[in-house]
């Protein structure tokens, strides 16, 4: 088990290295920050000074090695905009993003799981059809459309909630609702199909044949098995806690990491973009790692495989 875990962590580190390198390559290829930050009409000396200042005049592979060396020592560079540490610039946005993504995740789970389980238990009834119709809508409508519709209803027409900004807790409601409803639709679909798969298994019939009433069959025999595939999708959502709000933050002018990413990319603020990509990469990799380890906990068959792989 320990060796399995270490192997997983080693793989995770490789993934992070790749993310760091890709971030570097893509951003260097996508335009000259000097022109974008100083504007097209700055004197040539200003460009040269800017490039020399940020090391952009050196060959690309030296830039990469320097960058990589700095990153591995924890130095993530400074924002080209205001000169502050990029880590600090991003770090102060993270709590704001988490303030909407964590409640949204809870909402997704609280609505999605029961809805999916219900739909599966009442398969092919009007309850199932109702839940699945709503879920397909949530699944297919893009988040910016749902966000705008919610803003139109609750902010513009009813005037109950603000449509953008981050001054009070009320400002957080619409972004949370937008992400929560869409995610709930995704979880509901996954949970439903996981439950249906499990309910068709022979061990469900033999649990009934043994004399368990249906409610106990569902709670102690169906749910633990259906949790296994559902865990995958929830894990993925945990992984996108930092990154998942780009669109919604833009729609509701929520000053989180997502919106910072959009402006930093537009401004070619390389260090900031790199830090954000690293953050996203780290949370994704960490969430996957957690899910992998959790699988072993919920599914004894995998545990044995892990032991065999690890020994």
């Amino acid at each position: 088990m320990l060796r399995y875990t270490l192997l997983r962590i080693f793989r995770a580190l490789i993934t992070v290295t790749l993310i760091v390198s890709l971030a570097f390559v893509i951003l260097r290829m996508s335009g000259d920050p000097a022109i974008i930050i100083l504007g097209p009409e700055a004197p040539p000396e200003a460009y040269a000074a800017f490039r020399a200042n940020w090391g952009l005049d050196q060959p690309i592979w030296i830039q990469y090695l320097k960058y990589f060396g700095a990153v591995s020592q924890g130095d993530l560079g400074n924002s080209m905009r205001d000169g502050r540490s990029a880590l600090q610039v991003v770090g102060e946005r993270v709590p704001l993003t988490l303030a909407i993504t964590i409640p949204a995740l809870l909402l997704k789970i609280l609505i999605g799981l029961p809805a999916g389980i219900c739909a599966a238990l009442y398969r092919n009834t009007y309850i199932d059809r109702l839940i699945m119709t709503v879920s397909v809508m949530g699944f297919t409508v893009p988040s910016f459309v749902l966000g705008l519709v919610l803003a139109l209803i609750f902010a513009v027409k009813l005037g109950w909630l603000p449509s953008g900004g981050s001054d009070t807790w009320q400002h957080a409601i619409l972004p949370i609702l937008t992400m929560g409803l869409i995610g709930a639709a995704v979880i509901a679909r996954f949970t439903r199909s996981a439950m249906l798969e499990v309910l068709g298994q022979p061990y469900i019939r033999s649990a009934s044949a043994k004399g368990l009433v249906w409610r106990d069959v569902v709670t102690s025999h169906a749910l633990p098995n259906a949790a296994i595939p559902t865990l995958t999708i929830v894990g993925f959502m945990v992984g996108s806690l930092v990154a998942g709000a780009v669109v919604v933050e833009s729609v509701f002018s929520w000053p989180g990491v997502g919106r910072l990413l959009v402006t930093a990319v537009a401004n070619r603020d390389l260090a900031v973009v790199q830090v954000i990509l690293l953050f996203i990469g780290f949370t994704m990799v960490f969430a996957n790692l957690t899910v992998d380890l959790l699988y072993g906990w919920v599914d004894p068959r995998l545990r044995t495989k892990q032991l065999q792989a690890g020994s």
Binding site: Y203, S206, S208, A209, K210, G211, S220, H221, R301, T304
Partner: protein, 338 residues
């Protein structure tokens, strides 16, 4: 013999959305105390459905008619709690694929303990001791350790033993074994069958053996019912059925068995295929595949009726004639052997 379970005129219809398809056309069957009954037929003929329906295990899409009596209780009229007491308590069931009939995420001990709690009220260390005793009883070595293992750590044969132990946990009066050895290796098959035979004798537990394997049924049971397309088409004491089969379908099944002794011969097969339940031919369902069929067979559905007085029932319009032939044949076989 007094019947412990008695099924009368059972019908099962499956809801296919826009219509109902009848899978069982009025089955009547008795199982006596401690009796071993075989139910034989090709897959899809309704042999498992009969018992799943009796225990209310077919789900909401099935509409079950007729009556199932156990003592004074009418099973089809029981509510969920009443049925739960019967399931595993009075009538236990084991299935074809033991490894997937056990829940992969729960330990053997927990799954056995569940049955002990439900039907015997045992918990904690008492349940654990009894679970261990049951595993010992079904021939699992290292019982104490096995209780802490998961189904995937055991072989198919071991898992079937666990299923049998779980069935015994409720001290049932009837054990339904639905193709209990089909998924197992031949050597393991014999062990499991011996175990079933022994347990049913020791506990005076009736055994209903559902199988497509005539050899197994001939070996294990006292009485056999042969099913075809949702009907019982012949039933008799096992010896009678195998020595003097009357229904052309039964005769076909037995003729399709290879002889172990005697000269080599081509195996006889029954021409045609089993019609699907929603496209049964008019009259006798077997008529299109039957060499003896005539116009009357496609006009009229034959009733299951007794021939002779020894509980030999056949559902065939030509039963009398075929029975005479069967007796003559049996006699000439006897002569040949002598």
């Amino acid at each position: 013999m007094d019947a412990i379970v008695s099924i009368r005129n059972m019908t099962v219809d499956f809801d296919q959305g826009h219509r109902f398809v009848r899978a069982l056309h009025g089955i009547s069957l008795d199982v006596g105390r401690g009796e071993a009954v075989g139910i034989v037929g090709e897959s899809g003929c309704g042999k498992s459905i009969t018992w799943l329906a009796a225990l209310g295990l077919l789900g909401k899409r099935a509409r079950v008619g007729g009556r199932v009596m156990m003592g004074s209780k009418s099973l089809l009229e029981l509510d969920e709690n009443g049925l739960a007491d019967i399931r595993g308590g009075k009538i236990a069931m084991i299935f074809q694929d033991p490894s997937s009939s056990l829940n992969p995420v729960h330990r053997i001990g927990r799954q056995l303990g569940e049955a002990l709690r439900l039907h015997r009220g045992l918990r904690g260390s008492a349940a654990k001791a009894e679970a261990k005793r049951l595993l010992d009883r079904v021939g699992i070595s290292n019982a104490a350790q096995r209780l802490n293992e998961y189904p995937h750590e055991l072989s198919g044969g071991m898992n079937q033993r666990v299923m049998i132990a779980m069935a015994l946990a409720g001290e049932p009066e009837v054990l339904i074994a639905d193709e209990p050895t089909t998924a197992l290796d031949v050597t393991i098959q014999a062990q499991i069958l011996d175990l079933l035979r022994e347990l049913s004798a020791d506990n005076e537990m009736a055994l209903v053996l559902i199988s497509h394997d005539l050899g197994v049924v001939a070996d294990m049971t006292e009485r056999v019912a042969v099913m075809y397309c949702g009907r019982i088409i012949e039933q008799a004491a096992t010896d009678t059925l195998f020595s003097r089969p009357v229904h052309p379908y039964t005769r076909g099944l037995i003729a399709a068995l290879p002889d172990i002794v005697g000269p080599k011969r081509r195996l006889a097969s029954i021409p045609g295929t089993v019609p699907p339940p929603d496209r049964l031919p008019p009259g006798c369902s077997f008529a299109p595949r039957c060499a003896r069929a005539d116009q009357a067979c496609t006009d009229r559905q034959p009733e299951l009726a007794g021939i002779g007085g020894d509980g030999h029932d056949v559902s065939c319009l030509h039963a009398a004639e075929l029975a005479t032939n069967a007796i003559r044949e049996a006699a000439s076989n006897e002569m040949e052997r002598a």
